[in-house]
Amino acid sequence: MTTLKRRALLGASMATLAAPQIMAQSKPEKLVYVGDNGPWHWVMVEEVAPAFEKATGIKIDFTLLPVDPWRARLRAELGAGSAGIDVVQWSVGMAGWISPHMEDHEPLLAQMKSRHADFDWDDYLTGTKKAATYDGKLSGIPYRITTGIFHYQKALLEQAGFSQPPGTWDEFLKVALAVNKPPDRYAFGIFGRQGAGMFVGFNPWLYSNGGRLLDFKTGEIFINDAKGVEALQFYADLVTKYKVVPPEAMTWEFDEIVAGGQSDRYAMVQMFAPYGTLINDPKISKTGGKWAWTTVPGPHAKAEGRTWIDGHSLGVPKYTRNKEWSLEFIQMACSRQWQKRAMERGNAPPLRSVLEDPDMIEKIGWPPVAAQAIETGFPTPAYPVWDTLEIQLRSTLSQTLFGQKTAKQALDDLAGDWQRSLRRAGIGR
């Protein structure tokens, strides 16, 4: 980014913050931000925070943790009513337990609009507004929307004789077997580590096949029905039977799968849409410029492809002493200009105007695919009991991927585990 452009952004930010008399609260020395450490915070940390500090004199103290410790930290501090966090970054799956601790952001919207004219709540995708709301309460401003799409190296597919990316599972298997060139490059990368990435690696296959997780209200479990079993068996076969997955992918989580793409370990992958920016950037990736995107394939027809939606919101907790300043920072980070800049460095803003910006589409490539996927996607469950169910799912998936159980055995066992956990939580019978 040229110095000129950056200066312009800085100037714009300072202009928007040039109404200090509105700030009724005394100025703190710093604001504490707690979030995860995914590979997309660079703009916030390296550009927005310094700009904010320049405009207000307040430093942003970033605590960026891996997924599990991040959840635990928020749960611990917010649960104790601690004033130690000023800006909370939370994801869709946390909505259930975090929303009681957050301010109601609905009235804050009006405040934001009155102070910064270019804040347009209508520009936000409907899906993300819903995701940031739990039990009728808006608990944050959506900052990042993620969905799983299909990334592939166009040239490699063409060399193998495929001018179009696979639309059905059969086609996908054919392509995978054709482009699989072990040990230098495999066909398909996955989130193989028994951790927070397992679920998003698997669920497009589940959802596309018409499978479902469960009904959180009645406690009825669907994951081990015929469709779920079929989906899991197909997914696991990629690793155990067809061996189109790199062996070290079994240790991969978020950073490693991106690094794998950057070092050309696989030709295709299903993962977060915005990661496409990271693997396609020639400055940091060996495969820069070679990627193309499409929605995930469906079992029998492309239109059947379904994927997951997740996202992060920035919110002001009830207990902080610096509510106004936190809101100012959130406003700055979520502003259209900064979100455009963030998108260039790996973020996926939930703003229609940014995602559909022709410049962005030209430069980055995946936004239209993401927008399409979001139309029909399934959001991550936000019920508190999901934490436990997900841990049990991770265990099941890992065992199946190593061929220790067939998909049917594994999912039937999982259904039993889930039944026990639901009973513990008092859901269903």
Partner: protein
Amino acid sequence: MNALSGVGSRRSKLVFAGSVYLALIAMTAVFLFPLLWVIGLSLKTRLQVFATPPLFIWWPTLENYVGVLSQADFLQAFVNSLVVSSGAVILSICVGVPAAYAFARFPFRGGSFLFFSLLVMRMLPPIAVLVPMYILFSKLGITTTRFSVILAYSTFSLPLVVWIMRGFFEDLPRELEESAWVDGASRYAAFRHVVLPLIRPGLVAASILSLQLAWNDFLFSAVLTNNATRTLPVLMAGFSGGDTGVDWGGMTASGVLVILPVLIFSFAAQRHLVAGLSSGAVKG
């Protein structure tokens, strides 16, 4: 016991000595190599780190250390570790040494039961206590403070201190204190002026072991601190994934800086360590 004594020709003794040296060198190489390799990684640039085949000879660079030391959060974690460890050591020594003396010299009703339960507490898995301790501390409002960590560590080194010091006190001849008592001194005075000065090696041993326990702990600190108060092991654990997963140079440089203080301290007082370990261990 000297395996070299006894019957055998001069030559067989030389052969034996030679093979022992060989074995020792091999073992030392195996045990020290991982550490040396990691130190090496900390002195390489990013390109050198990922060179294939791995480089065994290269120009060392200090850029990783400079990078780590110029980061505020490393220095802060270092200070936190220092505060927490010394606090825990001082607390457990001040509280545990008098108790050890009492156990050694003045058996009282319920004393052996108390000592035994202290030992048992030492054997319990810390994670069993961590959850409720965390809840207790959050009710008291001291989670995320260094004080909570000092308290937690003290309860783990306390049984250790008592165990070791009791052994040292039992070794001390009673005549010294007895003559002091005969001269009319109270037990407290006798303890302070006669016994304590003689027990210094034991104190050193107990301190080193408590220090190691406090400095090296990860689990309790991870749960009971936040960013501002976290200790070095928690900072290090942040390297096991995420952005910095690829920064091997920074990771290893931090690691070396973390283990350096305890290494230096332990080497300086090594004799006492062995004495402490064996005394407490066997006589218990």
